[in-house]
């Protein structure tokens, strides 16, 4: 009974929040291979934790927090091992099927890649997933004021990069 419940939660989470988890992981790692690793480990963590959530909102927030932490671990390990980052433009199966779409967004991803990780996370959670600063603070483990500062500076950085691109 308990195992069935855990499986049901896992299936529900994967089906409902899989794309969001993957996109957040991809936006942080810029690697499909690493995003897949984060994706699988995140849901594995959900399954092994046996957590039961009140609603989907709490479930998604928990998943996002795990993704953020796992991406952080990846960066930390890469730094310790002095790994060369994966090629951000590495193709995956879907991109091979539609290579022209990715090319159109190269300029945009160039800007995103110039943001530091702390800015990328808050911008993604705020502008893509629609979280408030207080919610983001809970997910990334920072104070709301810090999140607001990162949002402000992230936007300023984006604006600066956009202006530099225009000129």
């Amino acid at each position: 009974m308990v195992i069935n419940e855990r499986e049901n939660i896992l299936r529900h989470a994967v089906e409902t929040f899989g794309p969001a988890v993957y996109r957040l992981a991809y936006s942080q790692t810029r690697s499909h291979h690493q995003a897949e690793d984060v994706y699988q480990e995140t849901f594995a963590a959900l399954y092994t934790s046996g957590k039961v959530f009140d609603n989907d909102y709490h479930l998604k927030s928990w998943l996002m927090k795990v993704v953020v932490n796992k991406c952080r671990n990846i960066r930390r390990e890469a730094y310790c091992r002095r790994e060369i980052p994966s090629n951000p433009l590495e193709p995956n199966v879907l991109e091979q099927a539609a290579p022209s779409e990715e090319t159109d967004d190269d300029a945009l991803w160039d800007i995103v890649d110039q943001l530091t990780d702390e800015f990328k996370i808050v911008i993604h959670l705020h502008y893509v997933d629609g979280y408030s600063t207080n919610e983001i603070a809970s997910i990334v483990g920072a104070s709301p004021a810090t999140v607001r500062t990162r949002l402000f500076r992230g936007r300023a950085k984006v604006k600066k990069l956009l202006e530099a691109g225009e000129s």
């Binding site: 499986e7 896992l10 299936r11 994967v14 089906e15 899989g18 794309p19 993957y22 996109r23 991809y26 936006s27 499909h32 995003a35 897949e36 994706y39 699988q40 480990e41 849901f43 594995a44 963590a45 399954y47 092994t48 796992k70 671990n73 390990e77 310790c80 091992r81 995956n92 199966v93 879907l94 539609a98 779409e101 990715e102 967004d105 945009l108 991803w109 800007i111 995103v112 911008i123 993604h124 502008y127 893509v128 600063t133 004021a145 607001r148 500062t149 949002l151 402000f152 936007r155 984006v158 604006k159 956009l162």
Partner: protein, 254 residues
């Protein structure tokens, strides 16, 4: 700017995983083939040479630190734990305020671009005397001399009843945009322990009553004040950090 985030959302919506990934993940997790990585397995252990180099570096830093601190220790011990001031006294010491050298002022003096850094620190313990100090670094703007007058009733609001020591650094920046408005935001620059809200409120009060005096050989001296005056620190921070900056005019008051 908003177009960029729309494009970002659109670009992300194109990013999708391998269609077989969800099923593969579910099956792998249930079968036990996929498990969350253990933190201990990822730990990077330092090599012996790294440990030796780190140890030597730490010893060097310690030696330098002791060399600097030990000569200053006797004079430090002679200082009282708290400033010698009456319990009711609040001493304000504004040494310098910083303005970016590239700032410009219109000849009409009806608008200004101002950037101000104010380091703000205060401490209090068990109701003992304390000092509030505001300081920064200043640059004179040519051809105008610029002075900020922080005198005002706001000093009465700097009351700290906490038993714990409170220290913080605040940054106040006033930036005018091309719409002749001043954009103000306060930013916490360091760790704040206790009484943060009161510190922030006090700084808000500083802003509210700040008068900006512009003196020049070319034109008459003028005094400006922020208008409308900020009413809520939370409003300012929230609005500004969400890119809806509060816009405040500098109004000539004298």
């Amino acid at each position: 700017m908003n177009d960029f985030f729309d494009d970002y959302r659109r670009a992300l919506s194109k990013i999708d995983h391998d269609p077989s990934l969800p099923d593969k993940t579910i099956r792998g997790i249930i079968a036990g083939d996929i498990q969350p990585a253990k933190a201990s397995s990822n730990r990077i252990r330092p090599t012996r040479s790294f440990a030796v180099v780190s140890g030597l570096a730490a010893c060097l830093v310690l030696a330098i630190g002791l060399g600097v601190l030990l000569p200053a220790l006797p004079s430090y011990l002679e200082q009282p734990a708290y400033p010698q001031a009456d319990a009711e006294e609040i001493r304000l010491d504004i040494t310098k305020l910083a303005f970016a050298p590239e700032l410009e002022f219109e000849a009409s003096h009806d608008k200004a671009i101002i950037e101000t850094n104010v380091d703000f620190s205060c401490s209090n313990a068990g109701g003992k005397p304390f000092t509030i100090k505001i300081e920064g670094s200043g640059v004179t703007i040519q051809p105008y001399g610029l002075e900020v007058n922080l005198d005002g009733p706001w000093a009465d609001h700097l009351v700290f009843g906490s038993d714990s020591e409170t220290k913080c650094l605040m940054k106040i920046e006033c930036l005018a945009n091309e719409d002749d408005m001043a954009i103000i935001f306060l930013e916490k620059k360091g760790s704040v322990v206790g009484a943060e809200a009161r510190v922030m409120q006090s700084l808000l009060d500083v802003l509210s009553t700040t008068k900006i005096v512009i003196e020049s050989d070319d034109v008459d001296s003028s005094v400006y004040q922020l208008s409308p005056q900020p009413t809520s620190f939370d409003d300012i921070v929230r609005l500004i950090h969400l890119n809806e900056p509060i816009k405040v005019d500098l109004v000539k008051v004298g």
